[in-house]
Symmetry: C2
């Protein structure tokens, strides 16, 4: 296995010191920043995530901050999701599309105030898009990347661990809402959200200087809860149907193809840059869509490139994420399948680098 060559360009995070001390074994790069991928082993991390509680360095979810009188107008230009009823204190998952309806990112928007937003981004330089849109449309906003680094606390014991550090008020935070909570005199946005289905929070750590103090406080408080450093887990996120931008979809895909049509209010999202293109898609429906795919047989190798999905010698889609699931005792996968073959129960072949395998289109993800 090849090593990763470190350089300043692959940015460290305010939590890197803790990640290293916890014995990180693998990294990926996300928004030109280091994102841990494995601590003990992917399977061990998976087991532990489902049973205990983990602290995740997800600083790579960089923020695009938008401030100013035109902030809400600009936000609506970026996404086909109708934001008119969104209140400060809410988080919305918002597909971001270009003028053709192609997805540029699939972030979480955090509404801090009417005139102040954070966009907590997936892996692409959304900052460039937002800054240039603001410039070209001469909007009255400031757009930049603030010193804010999310730290996630995920797992069934997340509420207990967070309450030990932030107090019991954290238990009252509803899903995709955030509250401003105190840590060492600093007020931090704490949201009930995260890239797993095991429950938990994301802390928007404002100011890199309190990164390690917070990391250490969580590790200390969680000693009796078997807390451990963790990271987004490949197996768990596939079981849970959590899509990964760049893996499962790219700017070639519309939100509808990604099964995100419910986040597209093309009738009412007035001002959205990709609205015209998406109105057409919404009307006719996509011709391919994301599906849970079960791959039969023994554990598949790592999916580092699209694997063709075949039916009768013809390609009808591709698998883009796959892993052996110990809990479901099968290979769980995410694929994009053409409408002719996307019905539940359709039998396909998937071409892995180690040969073809039988696969089935499932109705639901596993978790």
């Amino acid at each position: 296995m090849a090593v990763i060559s470190l350089s300043r360009r692959l940015r460290r995070t305010p939590f890197s010191e803790g990640v290293e001390a916890a014995g990180v074994k693998g990294y990926t790069v996300y928004n030109r920043m280091l994102l841990p991928t494995v601590f003990r082993s992917v399977e061990e991390d998976y087991r532990h995530l489902k049973q205990a509680v983990q602290v995740w360095d997800v600083a790579c979810e960089r923020q695009v901050e938008i401030r100013g009188p035109d902030a809400s107008r600009l936000m609506q230009m970026l996404t086909p999701r109708d934001l008119r009823r969104m209140l400060p204190g809410q988080c919305y998952y918002v597909p971001i599309v270009d003028e053709t309806g192609g997805m540029l990112n699939d972030p979480v928007a955090v509404k801090l105030a009417e005139d102040r937003w954070w966009i907590s981004i997936a892996d692409s330089d959304l900052l460039f898009w937002v800054k240039a849109i603001a410039h070209g449309w001469r909007l009255d906003v400031l757009v930049d990347e603030p010193d804010v680094s999310p730290l996630a606390v995920q797992g069934p014991k997340a509420d207990d661990l967070m309450a030990a550090v932030f107090g019991d008020r954290v238990r009252d935070i509803r899903f995709f809402r955030f509250d401003m909570l105190d840590f060492q005199g600093r007020s931090l946005a704490v949201a009930r959200s995260g890239y797993s289905k095991q429950g938990g929070f994301e802390i928007y750590v404002e100011g890199g200087d309190i990164g390690m103090p917070l990391w250490n406080a969580l590790m200390e408080a969680g000693r009796d809860m078997d807390v451990h450093a963790g990271c987004p887990n490949l197996i768990e996120r596939i079981e849970s149907g959590l899509l990964s931008y760049g893996n499962d979809m790219t700017d070639d895909n519309t939100p509808h193809e990604c099964g995100l049509g419910r986040f597209c209010n093309t009738q009412t999202a007035i001002g959205c840059i990709g609205r015209d293109a998406l109105l057409r898609v919404a009307k006719e429906g996509p011709v391919q869509q994301i599906r849970p795919i079960e791959i039969h047989g023994a554990a598949v190798p790592g999916c580092d490139r699209p694997w063709p999905l075949m039916a009768g010698g013809r390609q009808v889609g591709q698998v883009t994420s796959a892993a052996w699931s110990p809990d479901f005792e099968t290979n769980v996968a995410i694929g994009m399948v053409r409408m002719t073959h996307w019905d539940e129960g359709t039998e396909l072949d998937v071409v892995t680098p180690e040969g073809a395998r039988a696969a089935t289109v499932n109705e639901m993800f596993w978790n």
Copy 2:
């Protein structure tokens, strides 16, 4: 050392198969694509690059293609370099700046025709910036990422190897010019350029399907020339003063701070988005600038984060790239230094993770 976790998001290239067969040992990620960093060892690769010829997978230099009646106008909006006299067949190194003069990328612009350009980008999603500027200004252009993957041939024997595959016409290509040359019936842009000072070419491989045939043809033709797979070499590029966007400068820096003032024609680059901000900088000069830094003593560790440059207990800059140079028998480095301390011969201390070291501001890079 941590491994890199591969996934579709870290895109493979048309040459990945060849890179793997050649025994790649390390990767970085560049434009969300795999970029090899070491084959035999960084020092062995360095020796070989200076003596023989290497084939480099630099597909991660993605292209932003601009086509249409407003293509040249848009190009001039992106950069403070005056492009009016640039002819089709030329390549220009062009700092790209935002409205504040901050560098968004430092690519090479390839002028294919008056109404068709490629921007061969460094590590940031310049595509998003260019697309959004075109959208916001309602320019009559198409902007996208074509299926073009640069393959570099670098080293003193590059002319001979290229001539063996493309014919002797390749020898007539002047520095930063390109010619259209034939390979297996396909016409490819071949430029005399590349990210080393050992001489060589970059082939803009249009169509991923001919990636491996071309790789193999070069390897076959170069057998007597000791050709080997290689990659941008950390030591050689620092010796040569080749800056790395994301390492040595970011969007915090103006071109003038990066010593790129000669590429800024702020008086005549009319239409450039960052011109107003840069006129101010051009007039007053930058307060900090890139300098070659020699770090004394034994080999330094890898520079994976900025190392503070100190003078009398006060920080006056930072080192962002550093490596032991076998040829110059010292540690070569690139730093950003405040004007109070940037004069040749200034003695500073650099704080590495292994302790402070004496360092000197040099006048010139080594190669």
